[in-house]
Amino acid sequence: MWLEKAIRNWWRQWRTDAELDAEVHGYIELLAQEKIHSGMSATAAQREAKMELGGVEQVKEKVREIRVGRFLETLWQDIRFGARMLRKNPGFTIIVALTLALGIGANTAIFSVIESVLLRPLPYDHPEGLIEVWNTYLPSVPLGGLSPGDFQDWQKRATTVSELAAYSWVQQGANLTGDGDPQRVEISYATSNLFSMLGEKAVAGRLFMSEEDRRGAAPVVVLTHRFWQSRFGGDPGVVGRAVILDGLQYTVVGVLAEDSSLLDSSDLWMPLGQYPDNLSEHTYHQIVGLARLRLGVKIAQARAEFEALNRQSAIAYPAQHKNFGVVVRPMQDPSASQIRQSLLVLFAAVGLVLLIACTNIVNLLLARNTAREKEIALRTALGANQGRLVRQLLTESMLLALLGGGLGIGLAAAGVKFLGAVAPANLTAVHEAHLGAAVLLFTAVLCLVVGIVCGLLPALQVRKTNVNIALKQGNRGSGTLANRRLHNLLVVSEIALALVPLVGAGLLLRSLHHLLNVSPGFRTDHLLSMHIPQAVTPPAQLSKLTPAQQRQLTEKQSLQFLQIVERVEGLAGVESAAGIDVLPLASHLKQASRFVIEGRPIPDAGVRPLAEIRTVSPGYFSTVGVPLLSGRTVGQTDWSGLDIDINGGMSRRFWPHGDALGKRINLCSLDPKPCWVAIVGIVGDVHQFGLDAAPTYDVYFCGGWTPYLMIRTASDPHQVSAAAAGVIRKVDPALPVGNVMTMDELLSDSVSPRRFSATLTGIFAALALVLAAVGIYGVVSYSVAQRTSELGLRMALGAQKGDVFRLVVGQGLKLTSIGICIGLAASLGLMRLMASQLYGVSATDPLTFAVVSIALAIVALAACYVPARRAMRVDPMTALRHE
């Protein structure tokens, strides 16, 4: 019914202009009629009448001005009246404003992070026209690179894109030597059209030219902005200078003006055409394709074309390209997808907090309007328009919402700073979040919605006021029963809403707890690691060596490494040292190979088991604390590469009877020549990719240069790092020393994102709980106050204090149980959406659900306690006298 009236009003406004038009023209008609009566001709009369009027549009315009002026005037009146009302009840105003500030502020803070991650457009020219082109090898590889040969073919043939560019999927490391300390740098390769396609500019020098994009051209590099600042101090004179990478000279031709998350993951860029490998082959899928759609071409057309090109490649190169699919999608920020899920969970939690806050405020407004019933009834009796009253109450709640929003922005600004201070360093999104225009717009819209949502229901309730009863009985609530049901409904929904983030936080915190209890497989305490990579021999040179020469090279490198180990072990405070080529716990890159077991039937290539391959130096396992389960650890005698250690998981899976020792496996391809290696020992399992990653089968070789030096110290590891670095520099001054950290720090870093989001969700859940408790307290107190005379009557009729107490608490308990049941049902459904965030605990874990429900029930009952005691203290005589 009120909806009809609102629509009718709006409809009336729209029709008013037509009416006005009719009215003015009617006036002209009547005037003309008068003139005709006094003798004028019809046409002359019409003309005269129109002239006298002075112009239909002008008259209409004047009326319109008056109307708008009236509206603004009444709006201003409403605002001033509302402000005065709010000032008269400062306690009420402050509570509401603070509650809203909390809810709106939290939402704004989280939204600012979301905005910086998920909503900002990519920092390239016309990013909407950019697409990514990937190969897939389902089911194991949902997104993989393209092979260089395919890339070149497709670049020639594709017509739906104006440019097809590529960059290397994996970065190459190299040692930068020359002026300054030797440093390990990461290098990416890009086609010469990549930077121009993205719209990147050079801040010094120039970017790649197409002539440089092929084998044999002069070796050049482009520096990323970040690297230019950190290594060369932003000196533009670096352009034209040479840098030495792994012993070879390269000329710096330019510096990128700005880094985007795609471009700043490495330090230097080189032209893809100079990549030291065969660029016409079709086997190794090592480059990522990016393209720009032609004007007017839709992504679906490009997708169809690339699928056709992919099929052509499969036909032309059946051995290499069979079973490869292709994926074309709009270009995405690579860092965004990782945290998208946890951000959305946080946003949901904080949204629920706001909903609960709004429910509290609706309760408060309803109660306050009931208290003002007499005043409202009086004004209605004196002729106030009901619509005006509703509008005026809505204006009050809008003012409250704006006040809360203003405070909320302040809270959000502080909150974002706080988040930036405590967030783990790798969550760049959090550190980049700030309250920009988009965020402020979001807050404004949120305030508007909150104001309407909170104010509408109470304002409309006012219309049901029966003037007679209200004037006679005063502020007792003429719709008491309906009002009470409304309050109860709101409390039940509050409790249900509070349960959901509590369950979510509970599950996340339990996941974190389980994770922290997982042993990484080695001792992380008192263990320092340093990255000391040697310059890499170019693969072209390596392939020219005979097997005997390769063995000699390996031996030479192993001895060089042992020399460093000896020197380091001689330092005070060092117990032992050893090396490995890939750090456990933190690596994101698989260094794995499929293998077959000697003497067993050979499965198809696609389904052979995968083993992670690591190379260690002698004494590695004892240094890092990986237990030896049987056999012996690989050592100096195994530098020939014929013997390996495997981990317990692999042994249990493939030799369940424990007879793995002595067996052989082949890690190379079966033809032309397999390379069988023998198992001489079984060591403990280690988490290679993180505490929550799937377990792996590990194979350990010994020998060669192992770039990660692990040092077991007697006391604080950091105290040893300077001395160790000094020793290393004395042995080989060209060796860069980097990435110095303890394994405890590495472990902590690997769980910190999870810890951060679990903690935040916990904070929001606690906030929701507090708000819900306040809400319950408010409603039960209010109900007790309303029912004072009823309670007094009961007591006069013989009810004991204990009965009254039980009555009030019983009511609270009933509401709480209904709310919890609804909340549990909702959580059962919703937690499933979060399943990917959980570890070691199911999305419907009964223990968490039960504990959270009980906790919420206890809090709710505690909130009822004070009002219940107040009810007990009602003096029947006084209560009845006020009747």
Binding site: E19, L20, G26, E29, L30, G54, Q58, I66, G383
Partner: protein
Amino acid sequence: MTPVQTELLQGTLDMLIMKALALGKMHGLGISRRIEQITKGTFQVKPGSLFPSLHRMEEEGWLNSSWGESENNRRAKYYQLTKKGRRQLETETQRWGRISLAIERALEA
């Protein structure tokens, strides 16, 4: 007497309109003719002033409007005084009386 174009204050125009409607409902042209009549031709209200005032007084709640048939069987918008409007007319008339008395006295002094 030749009609004199005199600027009318808004409040005065309101009063004249309400006075014109005191006898019953009228459409816009009728109201301006009546005002001319009762002021013996002194005030000729232009539609540019009449319509804004009519609509404003309707918003204030002093007038009610309705559509009806005019003398020449055309549709016209008719206005009438509300109870609130009648009270306002009374108040304004008294106020005017006091002001004009004071001015008269001032001029005689």
